[in-house]
Symmetry: D2
Subunit: 343 residues, 4 copies
């Protein structure tokens, strides 16, 4: 039984993590913390968790948590949690960090997108927590960076093609995200009546998740160029990423699918769809699956790879649990085996 602490337990990523951990037979939740409001039960923030845990929300006190926990999740905004992460590592805990602070290998790249890095030393020791690319490194690391939701979908959609040299290293990622990706913080953009019945792009060609895509895809082939446009979609959960790349040479759809199936052979949460099927976010909603579908525009010599994930599960809390399972040595699919909800 691993004793687990969750810092930032009341954001959407945190509360989804708590829901998954409550169903995990080899884990015991021992410490829940958040900024500012303490001393209350989690059901005071989330009525749906009424009766779930008889535990008060604590202060963010890493040493205190370290007394009762062996593994810690940090679901805090970037830059806010870095010192806590360092402290937790020093105290010997295993750590999974939800923020961007440990994802990038280069402090310089981090600075371009997020400002100066508060603890650049963390960058070296962190493993990028995408088991499909880094399964060998995760069990032995003390620090896993949980990937961004958009990068997870884009990297999984394109990795096999890059790895096999099927495409030119210059891709377009056009992503569509449900509103939960913006979190629980109030804003006009996510006010119901402002985003319902609308779709819009935002942060065109300058979103912070771009360098993660570049970094991870570049480990599989030549240095990548990525043009990334996220869109906000009026639904709660889900990301669909439609990725466009010029084929490096003539490739049939059958061959491309074969490349993808080989690359993801044995992966418990990747479903490469048969020819003619297309992914939909609803097909994965409530699950840790990533569905991938391919098409080829023969006239234009283009590969179109589409990936669908539940942004809060495979795109965040589920990915974190999957990595945790590897880090604590239990079956990788524990607490993640449920099929998607329908409808």
């Amino acid at each position: 039984m691993t004793r687990v602490a969750v810092f930032g337990a009341t954001g959407y990523g945190g509360v989804e993590l708590v829901r998954l951990l409550l169903d995990h037979p080899e884990v015991e939740l021992t410490y829940l913390a958040r900024h500012s409001t303490v001393g209350e039960n989690i059901a005071q923030f989330y009525q749906h968790l009424g009766g779930a845990i008889d535990m008060e929300i604590q202060e963010i006190d890493v040493p205190a948590a370290s007394e009762v926990a062996d593994l810690m999740f940090f679901c805090l905004p970037h830059a806010v949690g870095a010192e806590y992460v360092a402290e937790a590592l020093e105290l010997g805990n295993k750590v999974l960090d939800f923020s961007a602070d440990c994802r990038l290998k280069s402090a310089g790249v981090y600075e371009q997108y997020y400002g100066e890095h508060p603890r650049p030393d963390l960058l070296e020791q962190a493993v990028y927590g995408l088991p499909e690319l880094h399964r060998e490194d995760i069990p032995s690391t003390q620090l896993t960076a949980v990937p961004g939701c958009y990068p997870t979908s884009a990297i999984l959609a394109l990795a096999p093609a890059v790895d096999a040299g099927l495409i030119e290293p210059n891709v377009i990622v056009d992503s569509k995200s449900g509103v939960s990706g913006a979190g629980r913080k109030l804003s006009l953009t996510t006010h119901y009546t402002e985003c319902n019945e609308s779709v819009a792009a935002y942060a065109i060609a300058k979103h912070r998740h771009t360098p993660e895509m570049v970094q991870e895809l570049s480990t599989l082939g030549p240095e990548m160029m990525v043009t990334f446009t996220p869109h906000l979609i009026p639904m709660n959960r889900g990301i669909l990423s439609t990725c466009y790349a010029q084929l490096a040479g003539a490739t049939s759809l059958t061959d491309a699918l074969e490349v993808y199936r080989d690359f993801y052979d044995g992966e418990p949460f990747i479903r490469v769809l048969d020819e003619g099927l297309v992914p939909a976010t609803k097909h994965v909603s409530g699950s840790n699956f990533c569905d991938i579908g391919l098409a080829i525009d023969e006239n234009a010599g283009r590969l179109i790879a589409v990936a669908a994930i539940d942004n809060l599960i495979k795109g965040l809390a589920g990915a974190a649990v999957q990595c945790m399972n590897l880090m604590i040595g239990c079956d990788e699919t524990t607490a993640l085996s449920r099929y998607p909800f329908w409808p």
Copy 2:
């Protein structure tokens, strides 16, 4: 390990049942059937179940199913499944029926709402599958009628008040249901663009679920009068029933809550909310919970009891699994313990 057959596995109730059973450690799915199309995998009807079960959809052949199963779920339209149910019982199987065919005690009442009953003999032996009212009878019955979704919410909202004699036997049930309650059958009413961004009542004061409410509430007190108005709400899942009743005498909200807490003491899936909290369908979505909140209009001398359920879980497939657990002697909460999704 109980071997289970599901007839009508490809409706929304059926597929939700399959999803829950896939997660049940003491159950093995051995036979999936539906009308007309056979010989295909369930993922051909539901892409989200890709990889879930390596089983073909079979014909509706009860004796064949009886060779491999001990317990059968019938998720077929009313009147269609009654003969199959009878056949299954004769062959010694335990049966849970999703239709209205076994819910009412009176063939005459059935006939007023549904037409002539194809097998009135079933009415006597069936137990109404609401564990909160009939837990003692379910373990020993061979036949459980899974309650209607609207009645589940209304009966649970009002039962303690009726039982304690708090209210006059004449109630109004104003229910709001997500669209999944209408099933997967195509209709203009459930065409996306026709029901999205709209709310409407239907079948005012003549819906088929009314006599179930009357029957079950009347077992707890005097013969009830129920005015029932269902409404269609633009969301996938959930039923909220707002119930109005004249108080029989002066009762404080505190006392009324006490009556409800006593009545539901120990119930694993009923949450009586504290004063000031109100139920929302989202608070129970994806779970088997029924949340109940109370208010009193002192000027008018009225009790307002509000109940929220996930119509496909506590209102259908989850209730069926809860009853099945009682019928096969395993823990009542097995496969039903997950907390609601948020958001």
Copy 3:
């Protein structure tokens, strides 16, 4: 040409009013104001109005507005605008007030729900701006109180029955509202991911709109008792009110419909539906219509009257324009004749 000022032009009611007035041939918008931010074009608050008006947002300065306007709309929160309203009246302007400050006849009742009234003298001179009940008084008044959205639907649903003595003076109003009714102010309740895919009641039996219903219905018959429960529905616009009342004597549906048709004879915006048809908010969305449908529960001796309106048009800005048309002597339907949007 009437010169018009709008105070509080950037709330949802204000901006909908501006949209309608832009299409009005006998009105000229001369002054737009809001609290705090001034000196900006309205398109800086509402991108959809890009290019609409070449006018800066001004301070709330009634005398300055009075220089350029003859008629003023106050779309300000209750209590905030009362002094401005009084000032505008003193300067000789015609005034339409969107807040609750001028709706109730009794300062005592106002105080129970809103706190002390800042200008109780306004209560006497204001006309309640429901043309279907007060058409004769509106043309000559200097001050019209635009009714609340919920009361408009409930009063229109019940007025003919009360007026004809069809029902007992004790009714239940169960209303379902789209989220725009809560305005543009940020709150967790109206955060997209919190209210999407959910339905909940709020302010059960204590909502501030209750006394308006009581007041207006009581002018048509005996003193009314109203139990009112509003619900939040995941859609942008629309209110559906389902109203329940005990019939005073035996009445057929045909007779009840006849009573309603007579009562609303000649009304340009009321549509009493034929037997068997039910109102839906979508049937009136984008229009000034109020659709009303009736049903009778013969067993229980109850009338169920259902009304649907677009909460921002017939429930707010459209009603205001309808009253303004009467006040300035132009055709009552000017700028309001468009049919609803579909889908």
Copy 4:
């Protein structure tokens, strides 16, 4: 006063057209027709139009319609209406066709996407009804082909860049459409519970609207290559097209915006957004506007042009009315001047 007939009046395009024409001061609706069901009022298909027109739905009888009308809209599926269109032209009527039958110049290209053309002679005489590209030809034509909804958004997004030679002739159009684009015909894809809370691509790189984009953009520059991927979004109305093209040379965003502003100078329904603003479908919903925003990915040397339209107005019925206005010689904006709905 132009007398107008509408064939196919009960599809979503037809009914939106009827709504706009009801508000048009220089047009009289004289003939409404649809297949199969005749002899009923339009409100029997669309309750929201109750009281709108005292006219029965007629058979599709072009000579009969020609007795009472001078101008005809055909809102019929492709191939179905071509003979009727030809008949209407022979009888001297002006015609606007909503289908794909008159949009393409090449019968061969038509055949690749739609099958053999029933009346290839129509292709020569039709003008493609995009006033922004063909305003000079529309007033004098007898036959206007109303453009497809997706092509309208993509062509308007890219035309200035193609015309000015800013981009390479090889573009990606990633479009997101509300569900009304799929019409009122029932299908599992547009069943509420199947498409709500989901986003998916469809017809990747093979949608029938592709050749329209190629044809029209190629008239402004070299022969284009277009990779087009449409997506279904859970909302009623709106299309957002995100278009990607390689810049032909170094171009600043300021310069690109200047090119767009010049190209669309004086256009009543095109709004080129200022730097930093992005289009959203909600900003144009309910209006005939097309909003266009630009961004440049300097690293990748790409232009990203985003266009938003209301698919049923600028993408269909509004475009048709705009063209009709030109064909009958009244002001181009008549009946189209209303600002978008909000929220």
